[in-house]
Amino acid sequence: MKSWRIVIGCCLLTATSARVGSLLQQAPSEVADKRNPLQGSDKARRAGAKLYARECAPCHGPKREGIGKAPPLNRADVYRASPGTLYWVLRNGSLHRGMPSFAHLPEPERWEIITFLHEVEETPVAR
């Protein structure tokens, strides 16, 4: 009986910590090595700004400041996250946190959004 309690307690703890931790931390380590084929492209950054305004800004805010439960994206851990990690988050989302999957966007469009998100300075967002 006691062992069952321990198992249930561990499961609850794991579930709770998974919800509290950042979505970026859920990405498997092996995806971190994936490179952004559009990195450094000004055209991709501008296309990413357009896509961000269309797909992400309604929840995360036009200046990436975050709205309600949707976290800000203009924070250090997003800038520092590897392209592969951001790609994994965009592709999979988190159904239970309300972050949808953007797998329906073609791969180049997802890389364009990541190129935009990795811009540290404030970039005007196209509307």
Binding site: K43, A44, R46, A47, A49, K50, L51, A53, R54, E55, A57, P58, C59, G68, R91, N92, G93, S94, L95, H96, R97, G98, M99, P100, S101, A103, H104, L105, P106, E107, P108, E109, E112, A126, R127
Partner: protein, 299 residues
Amino acid sequence: MFDSRHLSWWNLLVVTLVVLATPTTWAGEGPFFITYTHQMEEPGNLEVASKDVIGKPGNGNRFLGDATEFEYGVKGWWTTEVYLDGQATGRESALFTGYRWENRFRVISHEHWINPVLYLEFENINGADKSLLEVVNHDGKDDVTGPNSETRSEKKREIEAKLILGSYYRGWTIAENFIAEKNVRHEPYEFGYAVGISRPLALAAKPDRCNFCPENLQMGVELYGGLGTHDAFGFRGTSHYVAPTVAWTLANGTTFQVSPTFGVTDASAHFLLRFCVSYEITQFGRTVERAFRGHGARP
């Protein structure tokens, strides 16, 4: 929870104005009319669509079937939709034919090669319904030729389940649906299928806001039809359709779809023309919540 005491014309006006000023996003379900992909509605978003079909069965009158769709993302894993169906038939009448309430549940988080979604629908329509949103059993051209005055008295209360399988591969969207339907009072289990494949004309977005960019155009093809019943399963006597589809999304988020549909068996209607206009309102749920909360907090 919503408190009905706060409902007033002021609330409705505020909601309407805020919704009109709310940015839209793009409906991403591809150009399909019948086939569902595994993509769910984003939580809080509301998509409004009018799906229409025009046809002229051989010995019947020309008709226009309409299904007005309200699709809402309740959770990341749960999308709900209400359809209001109606039709107009030449030399006969126009009538409301019923409603459908459907729910889609994504059962596995994260993207995989094949992504399953469970679909459950209750429909309460009458025999005059001509929206033709799915084909099961031996549905065919004979179902749309009966006069409205007779077919409208036939009640169809049915439960429908679908297994939706979807994949994305190098810009291609591939979806397969397996359909099982049962009248709640009688009739056997009826089966059908739908498969579709589509792709945007360009995989990368252009930097500028544009209406005619190739990325705004998606093309595909659907194939769907009936598979008989549990005691007469198979293709014999069933109708099947092949339908090229095109979707064009404007920069403001409005999507137009068109699909000429060709019947490929004797039981099928020879030709149907489907078209659809849809518009997605982002974070509709949050907008409504704010409007009602704001008014409720006033002294």
